[in-house]
C-alpha cells in the first residue's frame, strides 16, 4: 500500500518554510492574546462609549478613535505587514520552482479519479478582478494561484487546517435532508476543493461537484483530489450561473464565499442555488456574521479588512441581512448559529437553509 501523499505544495527552500512559519506564529500573536491589541481596543471602545454616554456605533466615530490611538495605528501597520510578508515570500518561493510546479499541474490534469472540466472560452467578469486578501494576481491570474492560495491559507488558519481539519468539521456540520437522500452535492466556489473531497468522504456513494471560476484553483483542486484518491468532479463555472438542471442537488454548500461577491451577485447566486437545489434539499452557508451583531471593534475590523485586506464586498455582505435573502429566494432558514470566541461573539456564522 502506498503512503498517502501530502498535496500541500512546499516552499522551495527550508528558509522560505521557516520564514512563513514565523509569519504564521506572528499572525497568531498579533491577532490573539499575545499582543492583546484586539481585546484592549475592544475594551477601550466600550469605555469610550461609556465616557460619551452612548455606545460607539457609527463607524466614523469608531475609526477616528481607533486611528488616533498608538496601538490602533500599530495594530493596522502590523496586520498589513504580516499579510504582505506572507505573499512576498510565498510568491518568490513558488516563482523559483515555477517550471516544476507548472509541469506538476499538467501531469495531473488528465488523470483520474474524478473529472476536471475547464472552459477554454471562459470570460472572467470584471467584479472578480480583485486581489482578495492581497493575494498577488487574485485567484485566477497566475497559473500557480491555486498553490499560492493553498499555502497562503495554511498560514491564515495559523496551522490549524494543514490537513483540511476545518473543512472536515464544517462539512460534518452540514445537515443532510430530512428524507436522508443524498445523491448529489454541489460545492459552490470550491477553490482548491477541500470541502469537495470532505463531502465525498462523508457521502461515498454520492456524486460530488465543485465549481469555481478560477482555472488555476480548479487544476490545483483536481491534483489534490487525485493525490487523495478521491472521485469528485470539478467544473469551471460561475456560481450565479451553474449550468446544472433544476432541482439537481440534494445538498449545496458555500464556505466563506458570499462576502467576496458584490451584492448583485450575492442575490443572483442565492437565486441560482435555489434553482438547482431540490425541494427539501439543504443549503449550508458559512460566512461572516452580520453587522447587526458586531461589537464596536468588530465593526472597525470589518471596515479595515474591507479596505486594507482586499475584501471590498465584505461590508455590503455583513450589512445585507443574508437570512432575508435566503428566504426571499425560496429557502427556510432552519438555524443561523453565530460562532463564539473567548470574550464574546465570534466572527463567523452558519446558515442552514431548507429549499421550500
Amino acid at each position: 500500500m502506498s503512503a498517502v501523499q501530502d498535496p500541500m505544495p512546499q516552499p522551495a527552500a527550508r528558509a522560505d518554510a521557516a520564514y512563513l512559519d514565523f509569519v504564521e506564529g506572528f499572525r497568531a500573536y498579533l491577532l490573539g492574546e499575545g499582543s492583546q491589541f484586539e481585546s484592549r481596543l475592544e475594551q477601550e471602545l466600550l469605555a469610550e462609549g461609556q465616557r460619551r454616554g452612548a455606545p460607539l456605533v457609527d463607524i466614523e466615530q469608531i475609526r477616528a478613535h481607533v486611528e488616533a490611538l498608538p496601538i490602533g495605528q500599530l495594530r493596522n501597520r502590523l496586520a498589513r505587514t504580516q499579510q504582505e510578508m506572507k505573499w512576498q515570500r510565498l510568491t518568490g518561493s513558488f516563482e523559483a520552482q515555477r517550471a516544476a510546479l507548472s509541469a506538476e499541474l499538467a501531469r495531473y490534469d488528465g488523470r483520474g479519479p474524478g473529472r476536471l472540466l475547464l472552459d477554454p472560452a471562459f470570460n472572467y467578469p470584471p467584479y472578480l478582478n480583485v486581489n482578495f486578501h492581497l493575494q498577488p494576481g487574485g485567484y485566477f491570474k497566475d497559473e500557480l494561484s491555486g498553490f499560492l492560495y493553498h499555502y497562503g491559507t495554511k498560514v491564515f488558519f495559523r496551522g490549524d487546517n494543514d490537513h483540511d481539519e476545518l473543512h472536515a468539521r464544517l462539512v460534518a456540520k452540514a445537515p443532510a435532508p430530512a428524507d436522508g437522500r443524498v445523491s448529489r452535492v454541489l460545492d459552490l466556489a470550491c477553490s482548491i476543493g477541500q470541502s469537495t473531497t470532505a463531502f465525498k468522504r462523508r457521502f461515498p456513494e454520492a456524486e460530488i461537484w465543485g465549481i469555481d471560476y478560477s482555472a488555476p484553483m480548479l487544476r490545483a483542486a483536481h491534483r489534490r483530489a487525485v493525490m487523495l484518491d478521491t472521485d469528485v468532479n470539478f467544473a469551471q463555472r460561475l456560481i450565479e450561473s451553474t449550468q446544472f438542471p433544476a432541482a439537481h442537488f440534494d445538498m449545496s454548500f458555500a464556505f466563506i464565499v458570499f462576502h467576496e461577491l458584490p451584492l448583485r451577485i450575492i442575490r443572483e447566486t442565492v437565486r441560482e442555488t435555489a434553482r438547482v437545489t431540490r425541494p427539501g434539499g439543504v443549503f449550508t452557508v458559512f460566512d461572516f456574521i452580520g453587522s447587526e451583531v458586531h461589537s464596536p471593534f468588530q465593526r472597525y475590523h470589518r471596515y479595515f479588512d474591507a479596505r486594507h485586506n482586499g475584501e471590498p464586498y465584505s461590508q455590503d455582505f455583513c450589512d445585507c441581512r443574508f437570512g432575508d435573502i435566503l428566504d426571499e429566494y425560496g429557502f427556510d432558514v432552519a438555524a443561523a448559529p453565530v460562532g463564539q470566541r473567548a470574550g464574546g461573539t465570534g466572527y463567523m456564522q452558519h446558515w442552514f437553509a431548507i429549499r421550500r
Binding site: P70, M85, N129, R307, H308, P312, Q315
Partner: protein, 110 residues
C-alpha cells in the same frame, strides 16, 4: 492613515474602496517604515535560529552532517511541537513591548 485609490489593475464592482499598495498607518512615516523593518528583521532572525536548531537536532542524532541532510530534515511531531514552542517564546521575547504601549498618545509622549 493615508491611502490612495486602488491600482487600476483591479476592477471591483462597488464595495469599499481598496487601499493603495503601500499605505502608511503610523503618524510618522519613518516610524512606520521602522516597524516594517523590525518585523522583517525578526523574521530573518527566526529563519537563522530555526536553521541552527534543525542543525543541532541532526548533529545530536547522527554526530555528523551528511550532504543535503539539513534541507531534507523534517521534524517529527514531537520535534515540531518543540520548534513551535520555541518560536512562540521567541516572538514573545521580542514583541512583549506591544502590551506596554499606553492607550493615550499624550501619555506616550511623557
Amino acid at each position: 492613515m493615508r491611502s490612495t485609490p486602488a491600482p487600476e489593475s483591479q476592477s471591483p464592482e462597488g464595495g469599499a474602496p481598496l487601499a493603495d499598495e503601500h499605505p502608511v498607518y503610523l503618524q510618522d512615516p519613518v516610524l512606520d517604515a521602522t516597524v516594517r523593518m523590525l518585523v522583517e528583521l525578526t523574521a530573518e532572525v527566526w529563519v537563522e535560529r530555526e536553521r541552527r536548531l534543525a542543525l543541532e537536532e541532526l548533529l545530536s542524532q547522527h554526530g555528523l552532517l551528511a550532504a543535503g541532510a539539513l534541507e531534507q530534515f523534517r521534524p517529527n511531531a514531537e520535534q515540531a511541537a518543540r520548534l513551535k514552542a520555541e518560536r512562540n517564546r521567541f516572538i514573545e521575547q521580542i514583541f512583549k513591548e506591544l502590551r506596554r504601549i499606553p492607550m493615550s498618545p499624550a501619555r506616550a509622549l511623557r
